[in-house]
């Protein structure tokens, strides 16, 4: 699944989670991925409190009008190189909210997304796999330097 990912990681991956108006389903699955059953912290993947510390952005929700500029700001505050992971159907396509008047999503319209995770909500395994894929991107960028 993770072609291009070296055997040992060069550094720990810090992730920032941003909720852009999601239903909480994806958010609790992200936290579930951090908790003992899936325990991603053993790989050095950690949730951080500020986008300025993060390598990857996990973004959930279909981006409501009120959150549009905030999502952009979070993205801009992240240092390069960065990866964006869109978690859940509603951020990818709009899902059941597709026709809503208060959405500016899908997230693709607002910020560039590297990995799309499908599911409503996706299982923690899928989220972990997406983070690993984003990691591949970051390591490839690093190798090119």
């Amino acid at each position: 699944m993770t072609k291009g990912l070296s055997k040992s990681f060069k550094k720990a991956l810090w992730v920032y989670h941003c909720n852009s108006g999601s239903c909480n389903g994806c958010d609790i699955e992200i936290i579930a991925a951090l908790c003992p059953r899936y325990d991603v912290e053993r790989f050095g993947i950690k949730l951080v409190g500020s986008p300025r510390h993060a390598d990857a952005l996990l973004i959930t929700g279909p981006v409501t009008r009120q959150m549009e500029d905030k999502v952009k700001r979070v993205f801009e505050q992240m240092p390069d190189p960065k990866a964006v992971i869109c978690v859940g159907n509603c951020g990818n396509t709009g899902d059941v909210f597709y026709e809503s008047y208060n959405l500016v999503g899908p997230i693709d319209n607002i910020i560039p997304v590297d990995v799309h995770v499908i599911g409503c909500p996706p299982r923690p395994e899928a989220i972990i796999m997406a983070v690993a894929k984003a990691w591949t991107k970051l390591e490839t960028l690093e190798a090119k330097k």
Binding site: G21, C23, P36, T64, V96, F97, E99, Y101
Partner: protein, 410 residues
């Protein structure tokens, strides 16, 4: 934020809508005097996704799935309350077995939600090892949910007139096994939350909501029961099979003999409710009669009947966070004429103000979390005016209201 003048002694502290302590977007503006909170302003609306509006363009079966996505944590009570409202209008008789199955799912959701909340509360006071302990237990609840419904979060088990999956005889041992696991671990949780010095220090006497305030502000669910108000839809107006089951209101005086209405009391109520839910599921497994699980298995036929129905109905349900109300009006049409959702957090937001007033800044997270707020359930209205304006003050609202009256009188 409003540019009102401040005195020299206080300053303003905006928190949110994106903040690591908040799992969901909501914005607060605190007025602070030193370490003390003088006043709080809450602005909502960041999670408004126009669910009700979309619902008025879909048929009742499609709405079940839309209602499920109002909130990922209450993903059972919203579609169920909607189903109750529709059954109320169309006079659909639900088979008795389905009523019991519905109770089992509702109580499972309550266990899951309360354990989740306990973890978040522990996290808010910086006790992360307890967060991991509770979430480990929660995974077991999710395993059971997945075994019974096929999904972890959005369960998709609701159907108008029943449920979609049965609990067969060969499934019962696995359910009882899981229930026994919860019982064994419940004692562990109770010990940590109620006897631990750290928890007591941070939660006793903090964020007090008096009984009078709880009644005046119409708080609901565990928040109001922790203030000593005996209010529980399951007992006040039994739905599903709750009328046949043996249980009582959970108030903190059962355990401690007194009601303080502080964060500690809210922890007690939620913990005791977890135990109550386990017992309720056991009772259901014993009492459940054999029979059908849905009154009309053919969805096309059900939709055709609902198309001919006219009237309005209300679905009331005790969700983990409090009372959820769905109002539906059918108009002999494919989609409902009106659908209105009132989530429990809507009632439990105003009690934040008396709870937070006079507290220290560091107590904000635990006090706010103690009502178990859920923004994605609550945000029902957004005002979009050339894509820019989202807040209206009272005068503007009043003006709009007057203008509308004049418009209508023409």
């Amino acid at each position: 934020m409003s540019p009102e003048a401040t005195t020299k002694t206080t300053y303003r502290l905006p928190i949110g809508p994106i903040h690591p302590a908040l799992k969901e977007p909501v914005a607060f503006e605190f007025e602070i005097d030193g370490e003390r909170i003088v006043d709080v302003r809450v602005s909502l609306g960041q999670v408004h996704r126009s669910v009700e509006w979309a619902g008025m363009r879909r048929n009742p079966i499609q709405i079940l799935y839309l209602a499920e996505r109002i909130c990922g944590i209450c993903s059972y009570c919203h579609p169920m309350a909607f189903a109750l409202a529709v059954e109320n209008i169309a006079d659909i008789e639900v088979p008795e077995r389905a009523e019991y199955l519905r109770v089992i799912q509702a109580e499972l959701e309550r266990i899951c939600s309360h354990i989740l909340w306990a973890g978040v509360a522990a996290h808010e006071i910086g006790f992360d090892s307890v967060l991991f302990l509770t979430w480990q237990m929660r995974e077991k609840v999710l395993d059971l949910t997945e075994y019974l419904t096929g999904n972890r979060i959005t369960k998709a088990i609701t159907m108008i007139g029943g449920v979609r999956r049965d609990i067969t005889k060969d499934m019962v041992p696995k359910v009882t096994e899981a229930l026994n696991y919860f019982k064994d671990n419940f004692e562990k949780l109770r010990h940590i939350f109620l006897d631990d010095k750290t928890f007591k220090m941070r939660s006793q006497g903090v964020g007090i909501l008096t009984k009078e305030d709880a009644l005046q502000l119409c708080a609901c669910g565990p928040t109001t029961r922790a203030s000593g108000v005996k209010k529980d839809v399951r007992l006040d107006q039994p739905y599903f099979a709750y009328g046949d089951l043996d249980f009582d209101y959970v108030t903190p005086d059962i355990l401690t003999g007194e009601v303080n209405g502080d964060v500690y009391d809210r922890i007690i109520v939620r913990l005791l409710e977890v135990k109550q839910s386990i017992e309720l599921i056991e009772q259901c497994l014993d009492l459940m009669p054999a029979g059908d699980i849905v009154s009309e298995p053919k969805i096309a036929k059900l939709l055709a009947t609902l198309k001919k129905v006219k009237g309005e109905g209300i679905g009331r349900m005790e969700a983990p966070r409090g009372e959820v109300i769905h109002y539906v009006k059918l108009d002999e049409n494919e989609h409902p004429y009106c659908w209105k959702v009132r989530a429990p957090t809507y009632n439990n937001i105003l009690p934040w103000i008396p709870m937070l007033r006079g507290e220290q800044i560091a107590d904000i997270p635990i006090v706010a979390a103690s009502t178990d707020p859920c923004m994605s359930c609550t945000n029902r209205v957004a005002i979009v005016d050339s894509g820019k304006k989202y807040e209206l003050n009272r005068e503007e609202l009043h003006k709009m209201s007057v203008e509308k009256t004049r418009r209508l009188m023409k």
